[in-house]
Symmetry: C2
Subunit: 189 residues, 2 copies
């Protein structure tokens, strides 16, 4: 049962796990599928059972920028749009075939009511996401492209294994050519 996997840190009864599970819906998509488009409503947040996805947007010049990746056991959505019932400001793309478990905001709230521990679980998640955004800002301010690439590899080796270099470049805010040069430089050290 997927809820046991998703909330494995929490000490919940069988009934609670059942109740939570009844609020998840399993869905699958193929590599390349866009499961959320800018401007659409954001009905779901997704738990990733398997596969890899990213959120990204296009700037005025048509260049893509990746905000976040999600691999096995992570969550993904246009989070701020999801919780505020706004339309998406980012796309979500499947980088590989994926198996997801999705829930609506109403379902999330109903779980909060029935199983309060879940609310703390998500609050801690939000706090960690906040901290990681903060680190990214600090790293943008203080570090060179090469340093940011190295700390990306160190922090998210699991992501590195699953995405193309041009995805990483668009996450780091550099071109694939620059990333290629950085990799060459690192190789020859």
């Amino acid at each position: 049962m997927i809820a046991r996997k998703i909330f494995k840190g929490l000490d919940l009864s069988k009934e609670e796990f059942d109740l939570i599970s009844s609020n998840f819906e399993q869905v699958s998509y193929r590599k390349g599928d866009i499961i959320l488009k800018i401007g659409e409503e954001v009905p779901y947040q997704y738990y990733v059972e398997d596969g890899c996805l990213r959120t990204f947007f296009e700037d005025k010049k048509g260049k893509e920028h990746t905000l976040q990746f999600a691999v096995k056991d992570w969550w993904i959505s246009d989070y701020t749009a999801f919780i505020n019932s706004r339309v998406a400001i980012m796309n979500i793309e499947c980088i590989q075939d994926v198996i997801l478990h999705r829930m609506t905001y109403e379902q999330l709230e109903s779980i909060y009511r029935e199983v309060p521990k879940v609310e703390s679980f998500f609050r801690r998640k939000l706090e960690r996401a906040f901290a990681s955004f903060q680190n990214r800002i600090l790293s943008n301010l203080a570090d060179s492209a090469q340093e940011r690439y190295l700390s990306f590899l160190k922090t998210y080796p699991e992501v590195d294994r699953n995405v193309k270099n041009y995805h990483i470049a668009s996450y780091l805010g550099i071109t694939t050519e620059t990333l290629s040069r950085i990799r060459k430089r690192l190789a020859g050290e």
Copy 2:
């Protein structure tokens, strides 16, 4: 009573406001004071009644980078350290003379217990802070220094009025010379 000002959005009884107020302690500092240093415990978060502050750190080369500003009616702390009982990874500096109201994490939790509405209040604050960090990352990825400066002015005119250009530069991730050139370019348009 300061609690009425701080939680002005919330519909609370006089008793609740009193209880909350009893958990705040008013403190004042002079311009230039560093009220939190990297490596120290982070006992407090601060509500700004008046004045202006910033959180910043120094990189290996000794260059300062500003993560956040706080002006009247904002909160400031090394938030992730505060909630996780870690030591500070940023300094907090008073850019002007300030009047603050501080509380410890224990006091915060005790307020949560007594006045649950306050917990939602802070959760919404965290969500907004999260969204603003996200916007900053997106803007770093997609926008030029000039565009970032313009959107800073638009989003935080109140901050602009209270800080030096070199503070803004260290927030935008550029040098004061570059900011000066951008300002000149904008003036001649």
